[in-house]
């Protein structure tokens, strides 16, 4: 099938985890602590979409299916989408619900102020939150410059340089997961291995390419 025909299907499939999560939360099909499940699941899906995004270029090279590039932006934006959901669940379910006191009522400037203070304090105090938040912030310029117009405006080379930030974002994301786990680091290790392999692939290719160039010039 052609990439163009597949696109709407991939788009809908990618919404699947969010839809499933919403359904499960509303029908009581999550654990006894559904709020923490929603936070965890959106986080894990962010990492998965980041990994898929990073896998597209290597897959293209290995399979020669160049049309895969047509999915890269979508996957990247889904990573950002799940990242934002993850952040919003954290803001609402963890920080807002954790304010405990609402001196001027729930809907008030005091609440907003306390919420911002609470988020800021958490980002400052807890290293795993600091890097998780950084990973998301780094994705913001990438999402903004993901349109064709922006690519033109920036110019291909500069755009590409900017979008290498995704390597940093994915690395921080894995670290964020690693640091929040209590004892069993097997799952973070899997993500570290996958993201690591995808980054090493790029480094290795660059090496091979430049070695090749050197040989050519020398010859």
């Amino acid at each position: 099938m052609r990439a163009r025909a597949l696109k709407p299907i991939v788009f809908l499939l990618s919404l699947g985890p969010a839809a499933w999560l919403a359904w499960a939360a509303l029908t009581g099909n999550l654990s006894a602590n559904p709020l923490s499940d929603v936070t965890n699941e959106t986080g894990v899906w962010t990492l998965r979409f980041l990994a898929v995004t990073l896998a597209i270029t290597p897959l293209r090279r290995l399979t020669g299916w160049n049309d895969l590039i047509r999915f890269r932006r979508m996957m990247g934006l889904y990573a950002f989408f799940y990242g934002m959901l993850h952040f919003m669940t954290y803001v609402v379910l963890d920080r807002f619900a954790g304010l405990v006191e609402f001196p001027n009522g729930i809907v008030s400037w005091t609440t907003v102020r306390n919420l911002v203070k609470s988020i800021g304090g958490d980002i400052y105090q807890r290293p795993f939150i600091t890097i998780g938040f950084s990973a998301l912030v780094l994705m913001v310029p990438l999402a903004i410059t993901s349109t064709a117009g922006m690519i033109r405006m920036l110019g291909g080379r500069r755009w590409q340089a900017l979008h290498r930030l995704v390597y940093v974002s994915a690395t921080l994301g894995v670290l964020h997961y690693w640091w929040l786990v209590k004892a069993d680091i097997r799952r973070p290790q899997i993500y570290a291995a996958i993201v690591g392999a995808l980054l090493v692939f790029r480094l290795a290719r660059k090496r091979v390419a430049s070695a090749f160039r050197r040989t050519v010039t020398a010859g």
């Binding site: 006894a32 619900a97 954790g98 405990v100 290293p127």
Partner: protein, 308 residues
């Protein structure tokens, strides 16, 4: 000695309680034929609860279960919540793993080894450990270091009674508990997530005014949940502070005392507030989980920032 529930208690509540108390699915397996054995020692701590927790015996009530002034009157969590959301790494690190993987766990027969600085060393059958202990129901707040909490009713007896019987010597400064290590039955222990077997400890004077979840587990409600060790097979009286598992795992995160303390944060979870399972808004965490009147004196003059 299983009798019908007293009418003054809603039947839904009773079901929940019996089941709560079981807390882990494996307990269900203990069931059936053992009800008689439990009858002799009805009060028998978790033992008795185990018996009562068979799916068939919903709504039954154990006889001679005393009430306790230490019980909270807060709303209990549901059976579903208490039996499917468990940190019990011996069966797996996911919260829902214990309820699935502990089904076939054999709690019969069960022995507990008493060792160390005490006169009555030896290996005792559970029935003998329970014999003659006065059974009491206590509804306790349970606070996990992960900042969630539940309200759980337990039936058990005071740990101090158990300790007295062991006749600890003057050298016994601490009491150390060890969980069963059985990779065949406990799939979680096949992976070195933690250093197995699980070990917990209390200072002797901490152990004395408090309650034990009986034959198999400890319930120490003013401490984070991980102190309440499960499936105990060994109790040792020692002169040095035991190396409790989580402290070995991450000394900067988990101390020996592990008292619930909203002013001392865990590096990853703020301990200032907690989410009661089933609620949206969090609540303030109370010093010593609200048991300060009973236990604060144990720590008078101690820097709880250092002794976290």
């Amino acid at each position: 000695m299983l009798i019908k529930a007293a009418p003054d208690i809603r039947s839904s509540e009773i079901t929940d309680r019996r089941l709560y108390v079981s807390r882990r699915e494996f307990i269900r397996a203990a069931a059936a034929g053992t009800a008689a054995a439990a009858a002799g020692a009805v009060f028998a701590g978790s033992e008795a609860e185990l018996r009562a927790a068979t799916p068939a015996s919903h709504g039954r009530k154990l006889e001679n279960v005393g009430k306790s002034p230490l019980s909270t009157d807060e709303k209990l969590n549901t059976w579903e919540q208490i039996t499917t959301y468990n940190n019990y790494y011996e069966f797996g690190v996911d919260k829902d793993a214990p309820s699935e993987l502990a089904r076939g766990f054999k709690t019969e027969p069960w022995t507990i080894t008493v060792d160390g600085e005490c006169a009555r060393k030896g290996t005792f059958h559970l029935e003998d450990v329970l014999k003659g202990q006065a059974l009491e129901e206590r509804v306790y707040r349970h606070r996990c270091v992960e900042a969630w909490s539940m309200v759980i009713p337990w039936v058990g007896f005071s740990l101090s009674n158990f300790i007295k019987r062991c006749e600890p010597t003057g050298n016994a400064k601490f009491v150390e508990f060890t969980t069963l290590y059985d990779p065949k039955q406990m799939p979680g222990t096949r992976i070195p997530v933690l250093q197995w077997p699980y070990v917990e400890g209390l200072r002797m004077d901490e152990a004395i005014p408090n309650q034990d979840g009986a034959p198999i587990r400890l319930v120490v409600p003013w401490k984070y949940g991980f102190k309440s060790i499960k499936s105990i097979v060994k109790v040792r009286f020692v002169d040095k502070q035991p190396r409790n598992t989580w402290n070995v795992q991450a000394p900067s995160e988990y101390g020996f005392y592990s008292n619930v303390n909203p002013t001392v944060d865990h590096p990853r979870w703020s301990q200032a507030s907690e989410r009661r399972i089933g609620e949206f808004f969090k609540r303030k965490t109370l010093m010593f989980n609200g048991y300060g009147d009973q236990v604060a004196s144990l720590y008078a003059g101690m820097d709880l920032r250092k002794n976290y």
